[in-house]
Symmetry: C2
Subunit: 128 residues, 2 copies
DNA sequence: CAGTATCCTTGTGGATACTG
DNA sequence: CAGTATCCACAAGGATACTG
């Protein structure tokens, strides 16, 4: 994300609130619903396409393919094809992908810690 | 997000990959493009609506209003209306909102740190 | 098995106009 | 100033069918 004061976050092209800011673009990519879940579903081990599809409940074949392609393009995932019939394809996180797990874990921890408060706040807000 | 092994993350309703998982719902909320930027734009100080609109480049009035309402509902932001003409409205992060800054900062740091590698990976991937 | 291709529905969000 | 209301365009994403 972005810090309180623009001047404290001068990375790469000035204003981080700027639409073209690279950090913002990256966050748009890794911040999407499915990428976050796929990183979690992969963890440290390798997994096949169908296994991933099973783990990430609710993802469609199309979105899983698309998400994995983008992650591969970003260097977050390695795709290995085994030339056999039927084809077998394994995915695993790269070092960069693995390094993403820590900040995402921090977010997950925040969610778990604040879930109760958020739900309470919502109920209070809604009953008015 | 979600950990490598489902069994290590049994918070609140079992499988975190589950579509109904509260953690997943929360992440959907705070993970969206504008919430992240508004948290950053608010920082520690209060800001008026128009000031926020100026800080978060590219946000429309509609989305800023909508984002602030949802954040208020979630207990992340406090909205204070000053009954004067013309009206003045101030926003500031609650303690919960402030606590969100740390994990989001971790993600921002990751982005800055890996930006170069990601861009390089993309170029390499695309030239094939 | 692991996709690709196509269609089609839906949601997201921008632009604009109006108001307490 | 800080919104609300309305309309509209586009893109994300699901369902389905087909393939190396």
């Amino acid at each position: 994300m972005v810090t309180a004061n623009p001047s404290t976050s001068v990375a790469l092209d000035g204003n981080p609130y700027n639409q073209g800011c690279p950090t913002r673009r990256i966050l748009d990519r890794i911040g999407d619903r499915w990428t976050v879940l796929v990183v979690g579903a992969l963890g440290d081990d390798t997994a096949r396409f169908s296994e991933l599809k099973r783990r990430v409940e609710g993802i469609s074949q199309k979105m899983l393919t698309q998400t994995l392609r983008e992650m591969e393009r970003d260097g977050l995932v390695i795709r290995t094809v085994f030339a056999q019939v039927p084809v077998k394809v394994e995915y695993r996180l790269t070092d960069a992908g693995i390094s993403l797990r820590a900040p995402l874990k921090a977010l997950e921890d925040w969610s778990i810690e604040h879930l109760g408060a958020v739900l309470t706040a919502q109920q209070f807000y809604d009953q008015e």
